[in-house]
Structures are given as structure tokens and as C-alpha cells.
């Protein structure tokens, strides 16, 4: 399997990438890690006439911390996120999600932004971005547009981006509560395979153990789903097992999974409930300081 012929240019900055996109438009694709694009080109599911390589765009590889946000350049590599101690402390859900993403060889090249823009429905990083209500910063030659991650994914591998826009960075809200916990879990056929269903949760408790903030999502549907209303109902409770079981049952009712070769819709619905329960309990226990 060989890709169809194409030409390429190297962008040394975000501005150069945008200028090249403006020139080549719909014929062009950005390439960073290439861990999804190159297989699609090999199978000729994608035949871009022009590749814009952003691996040299240093201004897309930064990680910035502020009091309220954590902003990662779209071209930050998954390996870097896995190993960054500051991110592990301030944005631990990403590292937990990455344990399920591909393999060492793919995480060494693959990027945060690439996974989100590719938008495989079973992918872990888009789910984490939706659960945490991240904001995507899209750039073109005219300027910057902000899109909530929860509105970015429209269908499997279909996202709200125009051909001349480049995902520049992903901004996550920082959770500053003292007692927080998070968890990511999934069921897949083998380690590193695409998830049949994935789930993620993040919880914050007050000093008395009451839930003050909760986020929850599953990737059982055609696109990752943040269950914001179900999570909101957890706030004010003490998150005992019965409350979590009720929320998990609500999740199972709220998802509308597709069926495929690997799992029926009914099985996926069941898994969404089971995994929602597991991640809520694990996130709660971590927030309580019991692991």
C-alpha cells in the first residue's frame, strides 16, 4: 500500500501553516504525527495533493499554565503529555486517557491536536477534551476562532473546521479545588486497540466530602458525549454508591450507540453504564484520598 503522489511544504510557525493552508485550501492537509493521516493515505482513503508539515512549528508545541487555564499547543506530542510532571499535577485526566492511546511507537509521534481533529469516535483524547469542556483555538489568516470541544465533533471523523483553518491550541479549564480526582476507563479488544466504549470522569469534593464539581462523559455514541446534566445532578451529593449507580443508569439511558462487527448497540449501552459507574467511583475515591 502506497500513498497517492503529493507535494509538501514545511511550516516553521503557526502563521506559516495558515498561509500555506490559505494558498492550498481544500487540496491540503496538515501533518504532524501522521499516525492517523498516513494510514488513511496508505489505504487511499485520503488523497491530499499537498501536505503541510507542522513538526517544525515550535509555537504549536508549547504548554502554558495560568491560574484558570492550561493551554497546550496542538502539536504537543502525546509522549510529552504522558511525561510532563506539571500536567500530571494540574491536568491528570489527559495522562490517564493516554494510557489507553495506541502504543509507545505511536505516542512518540502522535499529537494532542491530531487526535482531536481526526476525531475517531472511539478516541480517548477527544473524549477527555469534551469531558473537561476544553476550548479549541482555530486559526486562519484572518484570525482566531474559539470552538468548544463539545461542539467541535459533528460525526465520526467530521469536525467543525474549515479547510483553511488550523487547530492551534487546546485550552483546558484548570480545576483548583483542593480535593479532586479523575479516572479514565475503557473496554477494547486488546490493549491499544480502538475502544468499544470509553468513559472519563473528574470530581471535586469540599472539606466535608460533598461533591462541588463533576464532569462525566462516554465515547459510546457516534461522537464522544459529555453528560453535563447527569454530572450536574451529582453536585451537592456525597457521591455514595447508590447516587453513582443512579447516575450510571442515566448514562446508559442517555447514550445512542451504533452497532458494528465488534459490539451490538445494546452491549455498548450496557458498557457505557458499567464504565460510567467505575470512573465515577474511581474519581471519587481519588478525591477522597483513597486509592
Amino acid at each position: 500500500m502506497k500513498a497517492a503522489p503529493f507535494e509538501f511544504a514545511r511550516a516553521a510557525s503557526l502563521a506559516e501553516a495558515c498561509a500555506l493552508l490559505a494558498r492550498h485550501g481544500a487540496d491540503a492537509k496538515l501533518i504532524a504525527g501522521g499516525q492517523s493521516l498516513v494510514p488513511m493515505m496508505a489505504m487511499r482513503l485520503a488523497r491530499p495533493a499537498f501536505l503541510i508539515d507542522i513538526n517544525g512549528a515550535a509555537d504549536m508545541q508549547g504548554i502554558e499554565f495560568s491560574a484558570e487555564t492550561i493551554t497546550l499547543g496542538a502539536a504537543v506530542r502525546q509522549r510529552q503529555i504522558e511525561r510532563d510532571a506539571s500536567l500530571a499535577a494540574r491536568l491528570p485526566l489527559l495522562g490517564k486517557a493516554l494510557r489507553w492511546v495506541g502504543h509507545a511507537q505511536t505516542r512518540n509521534r502522535g499529537t494532542l491536536g491530531g487526535s482531536i481533529v481526526h476525531a475517531d469516535p472511539s478516541a480517548e483524547l477527544p473524549l477527555a477534551a469534551c469531558v473537561l469542556d476544553a476550548t479549541l483555538l482555530l486559526r486562519d489568516t484572518a484570525g482566531e476562532t474559539e470552538v468548544p470541544a463539545r461542539e467541535f465533533m459533528l460525526a465520526p471523523m467530521v469536525v467543525a473546521i474549515t479547510p483553511d483553518q488550523c487547530l492551534a491550541a487546546v485550552r483546558f479549564p484548570a480545576w483548583t479545588e483542593a480535593r479532586t480526582g479523575c479516572a479514565f476507563d475503557e473496554v477494547s479488544l486488546r490493549q491499544g486497540d480502538f475502544a468499544i466504549v470509553g468513559a472519563a470522569a473528574q470530581i471535586a469534593l469540599d472539606a466535608g466530602g460533598k461533591c462541588v464539581r463533576a464532569a462525566l462523559g462516554t465515547s459510546s455514541a457516534p461522537i464522544p458525549q459529555a453528560h453535563a446534566e447527569i454530572a450536574q445532578r451529582l453536585v451537592g451529593t456525597s457521591l455514595d454508591d447508590a447516587v453513582i449507580a443512579d447516575a450510571a443508569a442515566d448514562v446508559a439511558r442517555a447514550v445512542e450507540p451504533d452497532a458494528d462487527l465488534h459490539a451490538s448497540a445494546e452491549y455498548r449501552r450496557h458498557l457505557a453504564g458499567v464504565l460510567a459507574k467505575r470512573v465515577l467511583m474511581a474519581a471519587r475515591d481519588e478525591a477522597r484520598g483513597r486509592r
Binding site: M1, K2, A3, A4, P5, F6, E7, F8, I31, G34, Q35, V38, P39, M41, A42, M43, L51, D53, N55, R79, G102, H103, A104, Q105, T106, N108, R109, R190, Q191, G192
Partner: protein, 162 residues
Amino acid sequence: MTEKKHAVAIEVNGMAFQAEVPARLTLVDFLRDEARLTGTHVGCEHGICGACSVLFDSLPVRACLMFAWQAHGHKVTTVEGLANPDGSPSPLQDSFCETHALQCGYCTPGMIVAAHALLEENRSPSEADVREAIAGNLCRCTGYQQIVDAVQLAARRLGETR
């Protein structure tokens, strides 16, 4: 059909290789067809099997998921570059022979590269560590157990000599 060619220079196993290649030539095809280093195998060609694993700037990557021009100016190490300086098998490669960690040998270069990268970071990996490190490499002969044994045997031997 005449396809435009691009000058690509890559340092492979410490030696400089240069060639004029089309944009769509993958790194693994550059290594095998231009550098004539056929130790790295081409398996699935779409990033699933791990047979083409090489070290790119010291980190294991799939050489079928990079184009040769993306490696321009970078350093690549293939399975040939992991042997002892005199060309004899390294302790890791010897361990693969000893524990019968290969039958057809197709996956072996990728396995050796993945295992080498693990041992660079973790000198006494648990069985789970080894299985995690080779999870991206498919073997259809061994059932993996002997490969895990080989990596752990190599870790013990390297621990004695390091």
C-alpha cells in the same frame, strides 16, 4: 509517470545516506530500498503490526507512518545498528535466540527495537512492562511468551554487566 523528487539526507546507524526520492516514499522504504538496510521489515504498511519499528532520534516509531523527507536531517537507528560494534549479536539479540523468541522472524526487528527502547528506560522491567512495551508489535508465531522471556533475560544480563 515522472514524479518530482526531493533530496533527502538521513543519518542511519551513524552513517550518512542521501537520495533523491518522491514525497510519498515512506521512511521504511527509504531504509530498505535506498540505504539497502533490509533488517527493518515491511509488514502491514498502515501502522498496525510494528514490524517496521525503528528508533527516530532515539525513540521507537513506526517507519511506515513517516515519509522519508520528514526524517531529513534526523538520526535513525535500525535493528542493524543495535548489534555490537563488531557486528555480533547484542545481549538482547542473543537472548531472542536463546529463548526461541522467534520462529519466522518477520516481527523480530520491530520486537528488538521496541525491547531495546524499553531497556534503555527500564533496566529491570516486569512482565507487565515488557508486554506493554511490545503491545504495538504483532507476532503470529510465538504467542509472545518467549519474547517476554527474552527481554527479561536480556535485562538480567545487562544488569550484570552495566
